[in-house]
Symmetry: C2
Subunit: 394 residues, 2 copies
């Protein structure tokens, strides 16, 4: 039967993470595996009020078919926030609303990738991007992430050897590593890309969730012609609305809109208008501060517990924001084996494997801290530390 499928779909695995998440239905398990925002922080009442208003003021409009570009009011708000917060001047016409950033990845794949085209991703990389791009059968070139961002020498040599079509990067509090690019790395990368035909996708779902340090510059600032910006409301308001956006120059936007029409005509204006109304009537920045305060505390708790309980020889990142940190067991110790042990102690996480395009049985793991309170984090990390001790003794 398999022969009936397209070549592109044949090799793409189901999302390993989404499979793991099924285990988390057991309430006695402490999960560091998810990538979910904390549901306790969703502004339910405010969104309910905004929704009632939308029904009263534009009920029939939001229930009708609408434009592929997205709701103008929301796009204006996004443009205004770029101006206010990052001093970026983005014309409203350069913003396309998508069903979360994930759809942005698919539309970019559709619009740019021919089979065999070279693209650059981080090592490790965001799993959803690997999955979305895989369908268009590119050649992945992964560039090692360091504490400063992509290894600049590797990046330089890939750029000159492969002249890639796309670079995909999450420069702020990356998923899965929690690492961020230094200001210097951003400038050096921009210098290398400037003047080439390569496009750089800056995916920035976590940029607003910074718990220490200062905001870094967007690539859009010093590489405006080559940079495609992705944003989302999933981490700041609610992922369930599935609202993200793409910022792209005019000639690229034209093609992205064609791809969007073919993909699903348009994103529902209902949720777009609710989000717009919510932002009209509420101080979203005050809401984001609440999220930051909570996640920041939980991240600190996780870092302290790691210091207490993880055995010597286990390395980890110390993010300045986001939702994840990343740990590395001693070389040749498999994080999948650790998962088997940890599951017995009712703790789960995501082993590093799915975040790589060409490595298996790795020693790395991703830990999420957004959904677990401080006490539970301490218990979970203690159990995980014990499982590590046990594994290292073997």
């Amino acid at each position: 039967m398999d022969s009936i499928f397209s070549d592109r779909i044949a090799d793409v695995p189901r999302s390993f993470i989404r499979e793991i998440l099924k285990v988390t239905l057991d309430p006695t398990i402490i999960s560091f595996a998810g990538g979910l925002p904390n549901r306790a922080l969703f502004p339910v009442e405010e969104l309910k009020a905004a929704t009632a208003k939308v029904f009263d003021t534009m009920g029939r409009d939001v229930l009708q078919y609408s434009t592929s570009e997205g709701f103008a009011g929301l796009r204006e708000m996004i443009a205004r926030r770029y101006h206010e917060r990052q001093n970026l001047d983005i014309p409203v016409e350069d913003i396309l609303i998508t069903n979360g950033s994930q759809q942005g990845l698919d539309l970019m794949g559709k619009t740019f990738i021919n089979e065999g085209d070279d693209i650059v991703i981080e090592d490790p990389a965001y799993l959803g991007a690997i999955q979305a791009f895989s369908l268009y059968k590119p050649r992945f070139n992964s560039v090692l992430l360091t504490d400063e961002g992509m290894d600049i020498n590797l990046f330089k040599s890939v750029m000159s050897a492969k002249k890639p079509k796309l670079i995909y990067t999450v420069p702020n509090f990356q998923n899965p590593s929690g690492l961020s690019f230094s200001e210097r790395t951003r400038h050096e990368m921009a210098d290398i890309v400037r003047g080439t035909k390569t496009l750089l996708i800056e995916d920035d779902p976590y940029g607003d969730l910074r718990y220490s340090g200062r905001r870094k510059s967007s690539f859009k600032k010093f590489l405006p012609d080559n940079t495609i910006l992705f944003g989302t409301f999933s981490k700041t308001v609610a992922p369930g609305f599935r609202l993200g956006w793409i910022v792209a120059p005019h000639d690229i936007m034209e093609k992205l809109i064609i791809a969007k029409q073919a993909a699903d005509l348009h994103t529902t204006h209902f949720t777009q208008c609710i989000l717009w109304q919510y932002m009209q009537d509420n101080d979203i920045d005050a809401h984001i501060r609440k999220i930051k305060e909570c996640y920041g505390r939980q991240m600190q708790a996780m870092l302290s517990s790691i210091e207490k309980y993880f055995p010597a020889g286990v390395a980890h990142t110390s993010p300045e924001g986001g939702m994840f940190l990343w740990a590395a067991l001693p070389e040749n110790v498999s994080s999948r084996d650790l998962l088997d042990l940890a599951l017995k102690d009712k703790v789960i996480f995501v082993p590093g494997d799915p975040f790589y395009v060409n490595r298996r049985n790795t020693n790395t793991l991703r830990l999420n801290f957004s959904c677990t309170d401080e006490e539970t984090i301490d218990t979970g990390i203690r159990h995980l530390g014990q499982a590590m001790e046990e594994l290292l003794k073997k």
Copy 2:
């Protein structure tokens, strides 16, 4: 700059219809061009009440990330309706919720079409399907539509010569023609497809909107292994929610879910739960009867006006349901020329061209009757008839 784009996107035009719709912003123009449901019939108050309930009972759940397959409650309801209304037994696991049927087309393209694969479509065909499939670069084989459905001899010879991967059909009140497949054509086509590896996509957005005659059998009934069913709430409740679904056998569903995950993780559960709640608390069939009563009256008005005003030599279909009818000018008379004349009289429609994969400057046109009241229909058709007279005199 063009060379940076993928081959697949280079040749796909922006939707001609969506471009025409921009003209309709002029309120003095009578538009038979749209494909929109009548906004006056949207159940705004009922949906508002359902939404408030959803916030109260599952607010945090619907705002969180959720499953790619879609909300189980809604899928159960869809399965139940298939059973009650068409005597089709569909397991809930065989139903995937999509962002409207349009996304179903994209997911099918992703999952099945390799470049150069043969697929069969109707002649004329649904424009959105041509657009969505084009991105995967198939070879289109169009089979002439007759009053009975696809021309069975042409269909038979395409099937045996090309062994196509997919057949795409809208057997009930097709867009753009308004034509339906007879029971006999359905059986004959099923006999030809049975036992082959070809999949038949039965897209059924209008099936519930029948104004005369009796419901015909779904292909799923006598061709269960090869049939993929598409459905949508766009024409019965609200297109703005962007909620459609695919019914597919288990082994195909597995791949479709991978494609859905890569495309946008999942469709928002917020709107799915609202629709479910709406259907719990209201009699959707009573609502559909109201729509049928209104559209049926408007269709009759259009047919009567056509009899009165269209010159001899202009043929047209007489649908039993749906939202469109189709007219043909005498051969070699261009419907684009007619549009130029009609625009001066402030009437618009969609010329046939975009509904064909390989014909240009055709003599056909699509007329929508769902959004215009009977008096306006009479005025508009009168003007259009006058424009035809004028054009035929030349």
